[in-house]
C-alpha cells in the first residue's frame, strides 16, 4: 500500500480541552433581578443577540434555570465570575 496519512499538529487546537467533557453554566431564577437586566447581561457577557438573550432569560424565568453556555472549564469559570459581578445566580457543572 502506497498511501500514507499524516496528521500535523495544529498549534491553535487545544487538544486536551477539546477532549475533556465540557462545563456548563446554569443560571437560576431569582425574584429580584429584572427581566430586562438579565437579557442585557447575556448580551454583554456572551455577546448573544437580543433574541437569543431574551429566549434564555424566559427559560430561566419559566423553568427556574437555563443552560446558557458550555465550554472549557477555565473560560466558563471566567464567565461565571462576570455573571456574579452582575449579580446573577450562576453555577457550573460538568456536562454528563
Amino acid at each position: 500500500m502506497g498511501s500514507t496519512s499524516t496528521i500535523v499538529a495544529e498549534p491553535e487546537v487545544d487538544l486536551k480541552n477539546s477532549l475533556a467533557r465540557p462545563w456548563n453554566i446554569i443560571v437560576w431564577n431569582d425574584p429580584i433581578n429584572l427581566m430586562t437586566y438579565v437579557t442585557r447581561i447575556f448580551m454583554m457577557v456572551f455577546g448573544y443577540s437580543k433574541e437569543k438573550s431574551e429566549r434564555l432569560m424566559m427559560e430561566v424565568h419559566h423553568d427556574g434555570k437555563s443552560l446558557v453556555a458550555s465550554g472549557a472549564r477555565e473560560a466558563m469559570e471566567q464567565a461565571v465570575t462576570q455573571l456574579h459581578e452582575y449579580g446573577l445566580w450562576a453555577t457550573l457543572e460538568q456536562a454528563s
Partner: protein, 153 residues
C-alpha cells in the same frame, strides 16, 4: 427622579431627598460588602457558590471572591462619586454597566433582607409595617434600574 437620553449617555435627575437616601444606602452597602460572613443570606446572594460541591465552591471562592468584592466596592464607589457632584448626573454609555451593577447589588441586598418573592407589589404593604420604607426603597431602586435599562443606544 427623571431619566432622559443624551448624546452618548443618560441624564439622571434626582430630587435632593432621593440623592441623600441613595448616598446613605451606598455608604451602608460599601461597609456591608466587606463582610465575609457567608452564613448571612445577603452575603451569600452577593457572593454565590459557583459549584454544587462544597469543596469546589470553596476553592473557586478562594480565588474569585476578593476580586469580586473589590469590583462591587468599585462600582458603588463610582456611583457615589457621581452623586457627590450637584445637579443633573450624566452617565456615559460606557459607564452605564457600573451603575446597573451597583444599583443591582443594592436591590439584591435589600431584596434578600426583605425576603421578596416577586409577588409583593401586587399587594399593599401596610404603612405601619416597619419595613414599609424599605419596601418603597426597594421599589424605587427597581424603577431607577428599569428606567436606565429602557434607554436604547
Amino acid at each position: 427622579m427623571k431619566v432622559s437620553k443624551t448624546r452618548g449617555g443618560i441624564n439622571l435627575e434626582l430630587l435632593e431627598g432621593e440623592r441623600d437616601v441613595l448616598l446613605q444606602l451606598i455608604d451602608d452597602f460599601r461597609e456591608f460588602v466587606m463582610s465575609e460572613d457567608i452564613s448571612d443570606p445577603a452575603v451569600a446572594r452577593l457572593f454565590p457558590d459557583a459549584y454544587e460541591g462544597n469543596e469546589e465552591s470553596a476553592e473557586f471562592r478562594k480565588y474569585s471572591e476578593p476580586a469580586l468584592r473589590e469590583k462591587k466596592d468599585r462600582d458603588s464607589a463610582y456611583i457615589r462619586s457621581c452623586l457627590e457632584v450637584a445637579g443633573v448626573i450624566n452617565i456615559k454609555e460606557i459607564e452605564l454597566d457600573s451603575w446597573l451593577r451597583g444599583i443591582n447589588d443594592l436591590r439584591l441586598t435589600l431584596g434578600t433582607r426583605l425576603e421578596v418573592t416577586g409577588d409583593e407589589f401586587g399587594g399593599e404593604i401596610p404603612e405601619d409595617d416597619p419595613r414599609s420604607f424599605l419596601y418603597s426603597l426597594y421599589g424605587w431602586l427597581g424603577w431607577l434600574q428599569g428606567s436606565l435599562l429602557e434607554v436604547e443606544f
